[in-house]
């Protein structure tokens, strides 16, 4: 245990997790924080999330232990290599936000009744619209890069970005000359928006927006973490992976845009489109 630099313990049984951390005798400063106070317990994703968090801070040659508690237990022991600093630097340069940043990027103004309705513990009168349907698993698998990675297709012939990806270019009609391009870390500007009182949403009213991304590409989708009265043409946004709805036992996650309070993540020279100016 003396060799362990980072101990990660995950599981749904909070008391068992806490008890094990203590019983193993690893010094407290080497036990990875689980952030449950800020983000709750993300369940099956917890081990991966905490490992990513640790690897963003770890040095080469360190020992990382991942323990997963359920009805049984799994243990994995990892040793970091000299390649780690290069990967860390590469991710920083690519603008990929670290886990710590995402954890601290949450909000603290959530009303308890809203939280309960999101968790399905407080029933809200739905609009007189069809209930949402569960997504199809094969279709979700086929569009994995888009649905989970928010990857556009960029035309190799002319550079036009398509969200969602397509095989034939809108701009130059080139066929199958596309490469995937990750859009999740780019910022965009609200070109136009609407507040939809009719559509189904976990958090009505749904705010719909047309987002034009820095460097090209347009996407029409939902906004989240947004005050409907505060959104405007020109609002700067970033993308965040959220639950759209749950249907027939399937949680449907996809990307939503949320306002960014500051311009620290903006490219040099400011956003691609002037603040407050719609694109036309």
């Amino acid at each position: 245990m003396a060799d362990v630099d980072h101990l990660i313990v995950t599981g749904l049984h909070a008391r068992a997790v806490a008890g094990l951390k203590k019983a193993l005798g690893v010094p407290a400063d080497r036990v990875a924080p689980d952030h449950t106070g800020l983000i709750g317990n993300p369940g099956v994703a917890q081990a991966g999330l905490l490992l990513a968090d640790v690897l963003e801070r770890a040095s080469p040659g360190q020992v990382v232990v991942v323990l997963e508690l359920a009805d049984g237990a799994d243990a994995a022991v990892l040793r970091t290599t000299d390649a780690l600093p290069g990967v860390q630097a590469g991710r920083r340069e690519a603008g990929i936000r670290p886990v710590a940043d995402l954890v601290n990027g949450g909000r603290s103004d959530l009303a308890y009744a809203v939280f309960l309705s999101w968790r399905g513990m407080l029933h809200r009168e739905p609009p007189r619209r069809p209930d949402p349907e569960r997504p199809d698993a094969p279709a979700s698998r086929r569009s994995e890069g888009w649905k989970f990675g928010f990857n556009a297709s960029r035309c190799l012939a002319c550079g036009f970005r398509h969200l969602p990806p397509t095989r034939i270019c809108l701009s130059c009609r080139a066929v199958d000359q596309m490469e995937p391009e990750r859009m999740a870390d780019l910022r965009g500007t609200v070109a136009t928006y609407t507040v939809d009182h009719l559509a189904f949403s976990l958090s009505p009213p749904m705010v719909g927006a047309v987002i034009d991304f820095d460097g090209g590409g347009r996407y029409r989708g939902e906004m989240t973490d947004v005050d409907p009265d505060a959104v405007a043409v020109g609002t700067r946004v970033e993308m965040t992976f959220r639950r759209l709805y749950s249907a027939q036992g399937v949680h449907n996650y996809f990307w939503k845009a949320r306002p960014v309070a500051d311009n620290t993540g903006d490219p040099p020279g400011g956003p691609a489109h002037g603040e407050g100016e719609p694109t036309s």
Partner: protein, 401 residues
């Protein structure tokens, strides 16, 4: 695009149209039967005399059986057609081509939708959700994008824009108030329209078309045969339908103040019909006023007003029933609701009445009786700004020159 059209080669010789509304006592089969019987009756023929049928419905039935069963059609070709909110017009367009090709002599286009039984607000999709990544914005929300974009581009104050949209709703309700087939046969005051609860963006309840049940039908034959059935046929001058590449939803160049699909289909239909100045040549237009800003933008896309000026023309009354170019003299989707498969044929039914001077005197348009104009336009739009199909048709009472 090479589109030569079928100008004056086919004619409408009979039509039928049910009342539109919350028709709790009538099912889809009743509506189809009523529309078909009125239609054949107006031409003095039996259903058995018809060679082939095109049925338009988005979701109130599938396959030709949905029509052959209630009408007891005896072993004839029946084609079911769907093309979003242009479904009714699409049934009509394909029926016309079948006659023009020489394949059949007498055909029926009929459209129906039974929306109210579901109990839902607005229209609903019927396709699978797929990977679950499509934004589930409602239709009023998707069309509400037009409002701030139009204001910004042409410097229209949002409050002024509100008055413009209110006047479009007011005008269409005025027209529907005197139409016994409309869902809402009641004039509505501008104050009441302005005070209606918000649905999406700046759109209130009165900016949205209704939800209703209804059916309409047309009987089509070769122009040279038309006088066998009626003394006053309507000749088909131009038919155009285009589906766009859904560019607006992904192209930052699109600014939400126009429907390129409408611009293209209008240019095609006008070219086929030989129309060069639609505002001066048309006696009337039935356009797809699913939401009030749609009608506003359509006035420019269809060439009835210059870019950035339609809002002034609306306020000046240009498109009122007694205006320079009556638009939606029957009350439009606003007063009729929008039973999808029926709407395009319902629009054609108003041309059928007005151009042939068979509308009741209290709502007969003067562009026909005094102005001597002979052409009418129908327009359907399916989808949303940036991603739609558009139909434009031109019909007229004068045969080929």
């Amino acid at each position: 695009m090479t589109s030569t059209g079928i100008r004056d080669r086919v004619a409408i010789v009979g039509m039928g149209c049910t009342r539109f509304g919350e028709l709790w006592d009538q099912g889809t089969n009743d509506l189809l039967t009523d529309a078909a019987v009125e239609c054949t009756g107006s031409a003095g023929v039996a259903i058995d005399a018809i060679d082939a049928f095109w049925l338009g419905t988005l979701g109130s039935g599938q396959s030709g059986i949905s029509l052959s069963k209630p009408l007891k059609i005896g072993y004839k070709p029946v084609t079911r057609v769907e093309n979003f909110c242009a479904t009714g017009s699409e049934a009509f367009r394909n029926a016309c081509y079948a006659v023009a090709s020489g394949a059949y002599e007498l055909v029926m286009a009929i459209g129906v939708e039974k929306l109210k039984d579901s109990g839902y607000s607005g229209l609903t999709g019927i396709h699978r959700v797929g990977d679950g990544t499509n934004a589930a914005l409602s239709s009023p929300a998707a069309f509400s994008f037009l409002v701030p974009a139009y204001c910004h581009k042409y410097g229209v104050d949002p409050e002024e824009m509100g008055s413009v949209l209110n006047r479009i709703a007011w005008k269409n309700h005025q027209n529907g108030a005197v139409n016994p087939r409309a869902q809402y046969q009641k004039a509505v005051s501008l104050d009441k329209i302005a005070a209606s609860p918000r649905v999406a963006g700046q759109l209130g309840v009165f900016d949205c078309s209704g939800v209703s049940d209804g059916a309409a039908a047309a009987l089509i034959c070769r122009s040279e045969d038309a006088h066998r059935y009626t003394d006053s046929p309507l000749y088909v001058k131009g038919l155009s339908l285009v589906a766009g590449p859904a560019a607006g939803a992904i192209d930052p160049e699109y600014d939400y103040t126009s429907f390129e699909e409408v611009v293209r289909s209008a240019a095609d239909a006008y070219s086929q019909a030989g129309v060069t100045d639609p505002r001066a040549e048309l006696a009337m237009a039935e356009v797809h006023d699913c939401f009030t800003p749609t009608e506003l933008v359509l006035m420019e896309d269809l060439g009835f007003a210059d870019r950035g000026t339609a809002w002034k023309e609306v306020m000046a009354g240009t498109f009122d029933r007694d205006g320079e170019l009556p638009v939606n003299p029957d009350g439009g989707l606003k007063s009729f609701g929008h039973p999808i498969g029926a709407t395009g044929l319902r629009m054609l039914f108003e041309c059928w009445l007005q151009l042939r001077r068979q509308a009741p005197p209290e709502r007969q348009i003067a562009t026909v009786t005094d102005g001597g104009r002979t052409l009418g336009l129908t327009h359907n739009l399916g989808g949303a700004p940036g991603e739609c199909v558009s139909f434009v048709g031109v019909v007229g009472t004068e045969p080929a020159d």
